[in-house]
């Protein structure tokens, strides 16, 4: 099985059009090989030919490079490497999202995509003003975003953590944003979380006011009875007319806003340790993911909406291969849709590689 995968990966790397990372000679490379659990790290390459030759020769299962640039990327001790800066990386993976129960693969992909769009559009572009971004399909269940803006490269770990906190709403002070004694809802037009909360409350108001029985809906909130629901309803109406009114809404609603509505509805997602680690290794775009055989693929923002990894990240052809099934599985990949029982079956190469990489079958 591993030999098969290695052979296929070798074929891919012998012909692949690899996209060299920026300043690739300054980066550290790391590899994992089929059948081995350790990572080979601290590699560096002086030319793109050498990287290509290495990949074609060794056909690793996983290929990584450092988000950081170093004067001596080959040194094994971090403090000897001479850190020069690092791309700012965001990792959005289905594994870290709270997904609904029994979530289908399709549904999962669309949730991750929605979160990725929100992260890029609402946070990285609108709030942080980044301009030089690369969006990459991780080869599995998520996306990576590489930010190359010059000012981002020098940021230390602490600063990167602040960026993640901003995105996830961690450490937000609603007393500061809404006011402590006298409450006011920020305007939708304001910057940062002020505007986000303003918009969230407005959307909520629109939803409630457009409902046939908005008051009933409000009563579902903990601690809200008939009287208060009426008051909130009136308050939301007032707010729509004049967003500046102070104390338009009862305290209970503000509590609800603070506890649930404000952050939940607007926060972004991204895996904290990936972003704050300034020595992180990240998958090499255009390499293959050893657990799926998919291409780690760089995507343009225009293509992103229509991108479907099960169609568009496939590296292998459709030549039919005989495979021995190790455990039954169902598969829907490109044009191959099947419920596979034990035994020997014939499937296209791309599906065979995927199933093999998942440990579901082996060449017959």
């Amino acid at each position: 099985m591993e030999e098969f995968l290695q052979k296929k990966f070798k074929e891919y790397y012998s012909n692949a059009d690899l996209a060299m990372p920026r300043r690739f000679t300054r980066r550290e490379y790391g590899f994992m090989f089929f059948g081995k659990s350790t990572m080979m790290r601290h590699m560096s390459f002086s030319s793109s030919q050498k990287i290509k030759a290495f990949l074609a020769d060794k056909a690793p299962a996983h290929v990584f490079y450092s988000s950081a640039y170093y004067t001596k990327p080959y040194e094994t001790d971090m403090k000897d490497k001479g850190w020069l800066g690092a791309d700012l990386i965001f990792d959005l993976d289905a594994d870290h999202l709270s997904l609904p129960e029994n979530c289908t693969y399709e549904k999962m992909l669309s949730i991750v995509k929605r979160e990725t769009k929100k992260l890029v559009e609402d946070f990285l572009i609108r709030d942080f003003g980044f301009r030089d971004l690369e969006l990459v399909f991780s080869g599995s269940r998520g996306y990576h975003i590489h930010v190359y803006d010059k000012e981002a490269l020098d940021l230390g770990s602490r600063e990167r953590r602040e960026i993640i906190d901003y995105i996830t709403g961690n450490g937000i002070s609603l007393d500061l944003i809404l006011g402590k004694e006298n409450y006011a809802i920020p305007s939708e037009k304001e910057s940062g979380w002020y505007g986000k909360i303003g918009r969230a409350v407005n959307e909520y108001a629109d939803k409630i006011l457009s409902m046939e029985n908005g008051v009933e809906e409000l009563k579902k909130i903990k601690g809200i009875g008939d009287v208060k629901a009426e008051r909130i309803y009136e308050g939301l109406k007032k707010l729509k007319k004049n967003p500046k009114v102070v104390n338009a809404l009862p305290k209970e609603f503000i509590e609800y806003l603070k506890e649930k509505l404000a952050i939940e509805s607007s926060k972004g997602e991204a895996d904290e340790p990936v972003t704050s680690d300034i020595h992180r290794l990240i998958r090499f775009p255009t390499s293959l993911h050893g657990k799926t055989g998919f291409i780690v693929k760089s995507l343009s923002f225009e293509d992103f909406d229509d991108f479907d990894p099960l169609q568009d990240a496939i590296a292998f052809g459709d030549e039919l291969l005989q495979m021995r099934v190790l455990k039954p599985f169902s598969i829907e990949i490109k044009d191959f849709h099947a419920n596979v029982k034990e035994g020997i079956i014939e499937m296209p190469e791309y599906a065979a590689v995927f199933a093999c990489a998942r440990g579901l079958c082996t060449p017959a």
């Binding site: 609108r126 709030d127 942080f128 003003g129 980044f130 000012e151 981002a152 020098d154 940021l155 602490r158 600063e159 602040e162 960026i163 906190d165 901003y166 709403g169 961690n170 450490g171 937000i172 002070s173 500061l176 944003i177 304001e190 910057s191 940062g192 979380w193 002020y194 505007g195």
Partner: protein, 334 residues
């Protein structure tokens, strides 16, 4: 290069921000020989020591700067920096840069927006209206709580909205960093300027910082042990000897009452006189003499290995208590 001088023609404005290149220009052509030894620069040298002392004592006494003394002010800043560079102590380095940055902050508070922006620019910070880049905000925010936390700011297009107060605090941090990074050394500065009061103050601050505080007689330098032994044996101790001991004990944080107890057995002991002496010394914060002076007064006594590596009896004690647990004597760096 900043334009404060050229625009307003006021050197005194520049002198309030001596860490800027333009201020350095004012003094860079002076002869070091003259600065160190000439009578004309005595005031600057004294001011330099005072600046370092104020940094250690955390007193926010501001130097009044006008057209007449601005040269002296700038020069004293660089001499102070040279003293700090010479002493090579991290605690002092930090204290000094915090102190000078705070000083500059107080001046900035009273400046016009134009001057504020010019100083900012020469620190590499640009303000656009009431906004700055979020990376600048992150880099120089003094902490990350409340309104200093990025998530609680108004951020859009990479710009954070700030008010004047926040901007000045950001600048203070940038100034602190700039000041800390300046390396200005002057050879033989310790010969030209008496640094003993600084050594004493520095050791005393570091001793006071220790979490577990108690007086450890074992760690006293031989000279002080000798003076105490003489007092205990009713041998008459010179006025200078007593002065040195009281200043030393005061420096390591001993209370007046405790100091009195040590002085008790002196034959000519007169409670009132002694109390007056002690209060006089402790109240004025006199510092004990340096080893050099101790030697001159014949108070240095059987110096040991550690003595060879220090310049002040306070340093002896400070090292001893800090290295006691490890049982090692510090290497050459002082």
């Amino acid at each position: 290069m900043i334009g404060i001088g050229t625009k307003t023609g006021k050197k005194s404005t520049i002198a309030r921000y001596p860490f800027l290149l333009e201020a350095f220009e004012m003094i860079k052509d002076e002869s070091m020989e003259e600065i160190l030894y000439s009578e004309a620069f005595r005031g600057s040298r004294a001011l330099a020591v005072a600046r370092v002392q104020s940094a250690l004592k955390n007193d926010e006494k501001q130097i009044f700067i006008d057209e007449r003394n601005c040269f002296e002010a700038v020069l004293s800043f660089y001499l102070a920096k040279a003293i700090v560079t010479h002493i090579k102590d991290n605690f002092l380095l930090k204290r000094h840069s915090i102190f000078e940055a705070k000083n500059a902050y107080y001046y900035l508070e009273k400046e016009s927006e134009e001057v504020v922006d010019q100083v900012a620019k020469s620190l590499g910070i640009e303000r656009e209206g009431d906004k700055i880049r979020f990376v600048t905000f992150l880099k120089y925010a003094p902490n990350s709580y409340g309104s200093w936390k990025l998530v609680n700011t108004r951020l859009s297009g990479g710009m954070v909205e700030i008010d004047r107060h926040i901007f000045l605090r950001i600048m203070q941090e940038a100034m602190r960093e700039r000041i800390e990074r300046i390396r200005f050394s002057v050879s033989d500065i310790d010969k030209a300027i008496d640094l003993s009061s600084i050594y004493a103050e520095l050791s005393s601050r570091k001793i006071a910082q220790r979490k577990e505080y108690r007086i450890e007689f074992d760690s006293f330098p031989p000279c002080m042990k000798n003076i105490i032994a003489q007092i205990e044996n009713n041998i008459n101790v010179s006025h200078l000897g007593r002065f040195s001991l009281v200043a030393f004990l005061n420096g390591i944080g001993m209370k007046e009452e405790e100091i009195m107890k040590i002085l008790m057995p002196t034959p000519d002991f007169d409670d009132r006189v002694a109390r007056y002496q002690v209060e006089h010394i402790t109240g004025k914060e006199y510092s004990a003499p340096s080893c050099d002076s101790m030697r001159t007064y014949s108070l240095c006594f059987e110096p040991d290995n550690l003595c060879a590596k220090i310049k002040h009896p306070m340093q002896y004690y400070e090292y001893k208590i800090n290295h006691k647990d490890h049982g090692r004597v510090p290497s050459k760096e002082v």
